[in-house]
Amino acid sequence: MRYAMAIDTRKCVGCSDCVVACQLENDVPIGYCRDWITETVDGSYPNVEIELRSERCNHCDNSPCVRCCPTGASHFEEGGIVVVTKNECIGCAACIQSCPYDARYSHPDGYVDKCTFCLHRVKEGLKPACVSVCPTKCLYFGDLDDSNSEITNILKNRKFKTLAPEAGTKPQIYYLT
């Protein structure tokens, strides 16, 4: 099993619904977020291109955060989801330093927090909160090892990119371009 997410940058309108849904679902403290929207502007008027991306932890296959964690609090759950165990985390911030996507933050309670792909929902067969609320249906979540899954098919048929693949992390969020 290999959970992954695909995000259609041509359908995303940058409404931030995914951000708010995540904050509500996961009790993210005010002023923090586990996912966010990035807007990349390329060129100058009138030849401008804009790309909107809903970004979050990439649940990398080769996760530097898991490698650098001194206590094993950062670990892989089923399907390659990277999760932090609160009570094993000492708050040393090694994982924050090691993440090329700055996807982690220090929770005000001390431990390090991040996107979990809504593991608690996925275990019940539901989709992550961000995916289920997206009004343009531009987020796809599923199992890459399942050749019939929606995400496998969409990655077969569309062009995509990953963020900073040169960092060697094997990110598992695919941006459809």
């Binding site: 977020c33 966010w36 650098c68 001194p70 009570n87 000492i90 090691s98």
Partner: protein, 313 residues
């Protein structure tokens, strides 16, 4: 032209707009750890070489600083932790891929050993010192009998500790300025240099001073070589590392780096030590203080600047 901006509210403390989760505690610890590693390395080295009597400051006096520096450094590390009450989780496991786990265990071993080392010389440093319990006398006799063995253990651990202070940073490939394997040897040499300088200041014997001054001079030359090597390596690497080197070559850390680290921290003390070789006497405290401040500044600059560098996508 490419511009990137966050459209939704990312204003996470310590992360946006620039990563700054490690404050003064980490560079201070890296300095103190390197200093302790340097002092213990020379204490063990001269013991193994059988030069305890020629090098009294290096073997007997200066090591007093090591456990103090280590305990202060550990305290700084503790202050840096944000989930403090769970710090013991470090010692429930050993993660071979995590430099921080290596460091935690090495510190766990070398701190008590350094205290034992100092304790075994207390009677020589403080005349009339007496242990209150006879078991301590027995233990002291055991340590003195096995001092060479202890020195071998300490010399290995001190090298690991010195290198670790650099590897701690270089293991983070997300921060291009740190992500160079020369950082381990560079921090080790810098730590040895600060250790040698401390011994130099505490020594009262002319021969010992001459030896330590020459060792320190050699270490400074190696350090300059490593720094040049590091910058050349960045220039020959990928775009993110070329950008990282720019912080020191015209970017915002240029002045602090070249003035405080290279000029005041390395070139001036090296020049003073060369003059000393030709019998121009300069108060030893000046080059020593400069080397120590230079080492401290170097770590502050590397930690601050490194956190700014990142992958762009």
């Amino acid at each position: 032209m490419k511009e990137e901006l966050f459209a939704s509210g990312r204003q996470i403390p310590d992360i946006d707009p620039y990563l700054n989760v490690w404050h003064w505690q980490i560079p201070l610890y890296l300095f103190l750890g390197g200093l302790a590693a340097g002092i213990l390395f020379f204490a063990a080295l001269f013991t193994i070489l059988g030069k305890e009597n020629e090098m009294p400051a290096a073997v007997k006096k200066a090591p007093v600083i090591a456990p103090i520096a280590l305990v202060l450094g550990l305290f700084a590390l503790f202050l840096d932790l944000k989930h403090k009450l769970f710090f013991w989780q470090l010692y429930t496991t050993f993660r071979i891929t995590s430099p921080m786990s290596w460091g935690a265990w090495v510190l766990m071993a070398i701190t008590p050993l350094s205290i034992i080392w100092v304790a075994s010389y207390l009677k020589e440093i403080i005349p009339g010192w007496k242990w209150k319990f006879s078991i301590l006398d027995d233990f002291e006799a055991f340590v003195i009998k096995n001092r060479i063995g202890l020195a071998w253990i300490i010399i290995v651990l001190s090298v690991i500790l010195g290198i670790y202070t650099g590897i701690l940073l270089s293991a983070f490939n997300a921060r291009p300025l740190w992500n160079t394997s020369i950082l381990g040897p560079l921090f080790l040499v810098s730590g040895l240099s600060t250790g040698a300088a401390t011994i130099l200041m505490m020594s009262k014997s002319a021969t010992e001073r001459r030896t330590m001054s020459r060792i320190d001079l050699l270490l400074i030359v190696i350090e300059v070589f490593f720094i040049v090597h590091m910058i050349m390596g960045f220039q020959a690497a990928s775009q993110v590392q070329i950008d990282a080197a720019q912080l020191f070559l015209g970017g915002q850390f240029t002045v602090t780096f070249w003035v405080f680290v290279i000029f005041l921290g390395l070139v001036i003390p090296a020049a003073m030590e060369v003059l000393e070789l030709f019998d121009f006497h300069i108060p030893v405290v000046i080059p020593v203080i400069l080397v120590l401040l230079g080492g401290l500044m170097f770590r502050f600059i590397m930690v601050e600047a490194g956190q700014i560098t990142r992958y762009l996508y």
